[in-house]
């Protein structure tokens, strides 16, 4: 590019920025000089982004996917890969009775009835379509259905490699194999470009952007990259994810969250893209509801592997005890908010981390590689007796044995009068050594809130109370679907369905 044209471009983008910043729109005569044009531009590269990108590319549209990080997939490639599919073929085959009513009841209970019913209906009714889209791309799932906390019946399809990458990688391959598709990583979305009518017609990005996780506030401090303008003829899909790693914005929502709070999110999970949508008028919904994942461990950083043990084994088939009392203190498979709140209560100020444990049988449901890695890391420990377990964590051995005996009795009777836990139907109690245990802590996990969308995945404007033309959104950047607290495994469902719907409508 010659100096002259670069200078022109800078002028134009400065103009575009100034124009949008003032809330004014550019006239056609002042149209920016685009560096490229596509039918659809998708911001982000997780579940929602891939569903939108693959679906619109399948319709024959040209699609650009922009991702600020070097790696594709954000949180979607580091999570546990459990995808809630109500009324699924696997449920049917395994004789599990599920219903619309039950799914709604579970989800609304966890969401404290703050869930947007239209969006809930959408993710319920299109769940199997989203599942089929992933299967068509080549995703593979295990036969064992997971029952994440708060679900009355097992609904969780788990990817065969035990992470969301089992969905993202085949979808990325499929996307790249479709004509007129492009992925730009290390490309940061900065601004929407709107026309006179307020329609989103393109985006301003920075290519060769390098996220710097040493910065306190990358969104504002990082000036790297080369500015580019790309036109989106049909529309832009915002699928940039949540903001649990945004130290500034999350603290504005919950001042008690310390800057060094542990999160399961990758370091790039910041609020910048969502805030840009607010700036052009998108309605904010539920942004102060932040969810903590209750199945994490203080003995590893980030997402780690702890959730694999706690979700699949200890919570469902075992118990969690307070170190100070050696007794249970919660329903181990309640919704995430209930559990995180209970755990924080007992953790208190003296880091009294609770102990989650189960016997030898449930760990067989874990993926072998993950179990081996977790055990080798030392976060998960193995004990031949309950006495040894008690000794390791400083529990009272006789109280612990009473707690276990009481729980085993509840399992036999099929009823937990203390905390109302749904007990394992196969009668798995805590009796066959060796026992497996770990210390637990909730970690910042999911931003419940975001931009408001309708059931066509269109972003709603606070200026007109109508959809913003040319702007769609899906996934964690949106708010309302899950209410105050999301059920485990409903994120992948939400992301894939809404992304797919955005891809159908854009």
């Amino acid at each position: 590019m010659s100096n002259l044209s670069r200078r022109n471009l800078l002028k134009i983008s400065a103009l575009a920025a100034a124009a949008t910043a003032l809330g004014a729109n550019q006239s056609d005569s002042n149209a920016p000089s685009w560096d490229g044009e596509y039918d659809v531009i998708v911001i982000g590269s997780g579940f929602a982004a891939h569903a939108a990108a693959v679906k619109s590319a399948m319709r024959g549209l040209s699609v650009l996917m922009v991702e600020k990080m070097g790696r594709v997939g954000g949180n979607s490639v580091i999570n546990g890969g459990i995808f809630c599919v109500p009324l699924s073929p696997k449920q049917k085959a395994q004789g599990i009775n599920d219903s619309r009513e039950l799914f709604f009841k579970d989800t609304l209970k966890a969401g404290r009835n703050l869930n947007n019913p239209a969006l809930l209906e959408l993710i319920f009714s299109r769940a199997n379509d989203a599942l089929n889209l992933t299967l068509e791309c080549g995703a593979e799932y295990r036969d064992f259905l997971e029952q994440s906390g708060g679900h009355s019946v097992p609904r969780g399809y788990k990817t065969s490699n035990g992470t969301g990458a089992g969905i993202i990688q085949p979808m990325q391959a499929r996307f790249k194999s479709l004509p007129n598709t492009e992925v730009k990583t290390r490309t940061k979305f900065d601004k929407f470009i709107t026309d006179d009518s307020g329609r989103v017609v393109g985006v301003e990005v920075r290519e060769n952007y390098r996220f710097d996780n040493k910065l306190f506030d990358d969104d504002r401090e990082n000036k790297s990259g080369d500015k580019k303008l790309y036109r989106a003829k049909k529309g832009v899909v915002l699928a940039s994810g949540g903001f649990c790693a945004d130290k500034v914005y999350r603290k504005l929502q919950e001042p008690l969250i310390p800057d060094n709070a542990q999160t399961t999110n990758h370091s790039g999970a910041t609020a910048g893209a969502m805030l840009e949508a607010f700036r052009i008028g998108a309605y904010p919904v539920h942004v102060s509801h932040l969810q903590f994942g209750p199945w994490a461990s203080p003995d590893e950083k980030g997402y780690g592997l702890a959730s694999k043990f706690n979700v699949t084994a200890s919570f469902r088939y075992g118990i969690s005890v307070d170190k100070k009392t050696s007794k249970r203190y919660m329903n181990e498979i309640a919704d995430r908010k209930t559990r995180a709140d209970k755990m924080f209560e007992i953790i208190g100020k003296d880091e009294n981390y609770p102990i989650h444990f189960c016997d030898s049988r449930p760990v067989k449901h874990m993926l072998k590689e993950q179990f081996d890695k977790l055990l080798a890391s030392g976060a998960l420990k193995r004990f031949d007796t309950l006495d040894a377990l008690a000794a390791e964590y400083g529990l009272n051995a006789s109280t612990l044995k009473q707690t276990v005996a009481q729980y085993n009795e509840y399992v036999k009777q099929g009823k937990d009068p203390d905390f109302g836990k749904i007990l394992p139907k196969d009668g798995t109690d805590i009796s066959v050594p060796p026992f497996y245990a770990m210390r637990g802590v909730p970690k910042l996990h999911h931003a419940m809130g975001g931009v408001a969308i309708n059931n066509k995945a269109q972003v709603l404007s606070s200026i007109t109370n109508e959809p913003i033309a040319g702007l769609y959104a899906a996934g964690e950047v949106t708010g309302g679907t899950h209410g105050a607290s999301r059920l485990g495994s409903n994120a992948i469902l939400d992301c894939l369905v809404c992304g797919m719907v955005a891809g159908e409508n854009v």
């Binding site: 070097g70 790696r71 980030g302 780690g304 590689e369 976060a379």
Partner: protein, 127 residues
């Protein structure tokens, strides 16, 4: 003649000093140092002002190291636990080289962001 010799010695001394200074400022990794690589072997066609050199990117690295698939293959034994950093369960052979490997400063290991305690059980220090 003596003047010329002195001049030559002076020049050599300067050159030696300059390259020493550069090698302190932009140290190479031992395996590249061993190959006696010069700045321009990697920073091709980037002029002769080291402070203005740009990162060479994947294309630069792969001009010698061939392909990410081949690099993944060299650590294939780690695939059994899906811990191969060049072909991990999360990313496959797709990461940017400089996500972990740095030439002029200490390399990092991206896996550590989530698997702090496990990584040392899986692999050595990032070269």
């Amino acid at each position: 003649m003596i003047k010329r010799v002195l001049c030559l010695l002076f020049c050599l001394a300067c050159a030696g000093f300059a390259s020493d200074e550069l090698s302190v400022k932009y140290p190479l990794k031992p395996h590249h140092e061993h190959l006696a690589l010069g700045c321009a072997d990697c920073h091709e066609n980037q002029g002769d002002e080291p402070s203005k050199f740009k990162a060479i990117g994947d294309k630069g690295c792969l001009s010698c190291h061939k392909s990410k698939k081949l690099l993944a293959k060299r650590l294939e034994f780690m695939d059994v636990l899906k811990a191969n950093p060049h072909n991990s369960v999360h990313d496959g052979p797709t990461l940017y080289c400089d996500e972990c490997h740095n030439e002029h400063k200490e390399s990092t290991n991206m896996c550590l962001e989530c698997h702090e305690h496990e990584v040392k059980e899986w692999m050595g220090v990032t070269p």
